[in-house]
Amino acid sequence: MNMKEKIKPHILATPPSGIRKYFDLINEMKDAISLGIGEPDFETPWSIREEGIYSLEKGKTFYSSNAGFIELRYEIANYMKNRFNLEYNPQSEILVTVGGSEAIDITLRAFAGPGDEVVIPEPSFVAYKGCTLFTGATPVPVELKAEDRFKLKPRQLLDAITDKTKAIIIGYPNNPTGATMDYDDYKAIVEVLKDKDIMVISDEIYAELTYRGRHASIAQFPEMKEKTIVINGFSKAFAMTGWRLGFACGQPDVMEQLKKIHQYAIMCAPTTAQFAAVEALKNGEPEVRRMVEEYNRRRLVMVDGFRKAGLDCFEPVGAFYVFPDLRSTGLSSDEFCERLLMEEKVLMVPGNAFGDSGEGFARATYATSLDNIREALARIRRFVDKVKS
C-alpha cells in the first residue's frame, strides 16, 4: 500500500523549493562556483564556539526551561533594547526557538488555519509560503516591484488585505532581494495596519546586516508593538546557522500561546547553542562588525560587477544578497540560471523560486570569498556578453 496517498492533500500540494534542483546539478560539477547558498561563509567566532565547548565539558547537557535559559533571555532583552530600542520582558515576552525558522512556523500555526489568509510580500524567503500552506491557510502574495526597490508599499498592502487576513509576514532586510525598509518607509505601512486586527510577523533575522542607515522594525511604532511578533536569531548575524538558535518577541498573552506550541513540539532549543549565544550577545559585537565590514566590501564589488556585466541591478543595502535584473538578456530566470550553470558553472538562484514577482531576476549571495566573487563575476560577464551578442 502506498502510504503517500494518505498524506494530507495540502501537504502533497505544497511544492518543494525550486532551489533544490540546481544544487543537485552543481554537486556533480568541478570548478563550479556557488552564489546560491544563503548562509554566512564565516565560521562562528571562536569565543562563541568556545563557550559551547565549555558547556559540554562541564556536563551542561540538560534541557533548559521551555522558553530558554533565563540568562539568555535577559541578554536578548538587553540586545533588543540596545540595538533596536525595543523593550521586551525576558520573563514573559521572549521565546528562544530552534532558529528563526521555528519562530516563523509556530507563529503561523498560532494565527493561521483553513479559511484564513496570510499576506506575503514576494519575492520572499521560501519558508513563509510553505509554512503558511501547512497550516491550511491561503498565502496571498503581494508583488513587490524593482522600481520600488522591493519595498512594501501601502497601496499594494491595502489591496491584498481582506476580512480573512489574519497575518502578514514582513521580512526586511530581505532574502532574496537585499532590500531594506527604513523607519519612514514603515510609516505608511503602519497607517494601513494600525487599526486592523492583523498580526504582523516581522522576520528581522538579517537586521545586523544593514549597510546603510539603521535597521528599522515595525515594532518600533508604539501602535504596532502589541500586534507584532519580532523574529530574530543568531544564524546570520553571528554566523551560527548550524547551531539552530533564534527567538521571537511579542506581547505576553501571545507569547504564552506560542510557548505552548514550542513546548509540545520542541521542548526547548538546543542548550549548547544557548550557552554559546549568551557569549555572542555579551561579547560578539566586534566580530559582527568585522563580518559586516567584509560583507559590505563584497557587496559593493558584486553590485559593480553585475552592472559592468550589463545587468541592471538596484543597490541592495541589507542581508547578503544581490538581485540583478535579467530582463535585458531576453532570458527567463530559469533559462538564465540553467544556462549560466551549464555554460559557465556559476550557480545563481532564479528569482521566481521566491515568488512569481521574482521572475526576470536571480539571487546571488556574497556570503562567499572575494576570490569566488571575482571569478564568478568574470564568468557572468562573459555569459551575458555571449547571450546579448
Binding site: 554537486n27 521560501v126 569566488n372
Partner: protein, 160 residues
Amino acid sequence: MEKKILEILRSNSRIAAEEMAVMLGTTADVIRETIQNLENKGVILGYDTLIDWEKTECENVTAYIEVKVTPQRGQGFDKVAERVYQYPQVLACSLMSGGFDLFVVVEGRTMKEVALFVAEKLAPIDSVLSTATHFVLKKYKENGIIFNRVLKDDREAVVL
C-alpha cells in the same frame, strides 16, 4: 579614507586599486594617489609576503631573543637597538617593557648559524648584559593567519 585603505591593505596588499575604489566608493586614481601619499609619508613601509617555509625546500630557523642591555646616557636604548637592527639577520627588533629590554627576531639557515650569530655578534655588543635565545619549533599563526589550515567551503546545499 586613509584609514579604510590601510585596513584593506593590511589583510591583502595585492588588491587592485580599481576594486578598492568600488569598495570605498571612490575612483582608482584617488586610491592610487592616497597610497602613494601614504608611502611617501612613510606610513606604508613595505608589502611583505607571509610564507610557510615548512612547505618549501628551504630549511629556515627562527629565534626569538630576549636581550638585556644597559641604556646609554643621553641616548637611552636607541643606540644599542641601532647596532642590533643593522644586521641583515635581524628581522625584527623592539624595545620592551618588563623583564628584558630588546626583543630580537633572528632568522638563519641552521640553529648553529643563529647561535653563532648571537654569540659572536649580539652578545659582545658593549652594553648588552645578557641574551636568552628561544628557537621556534612550530609556527601556528602569524599576522592573523593560521598555518596549515585549508579553508574548504563544504557548506551543504540547503533550501532557503
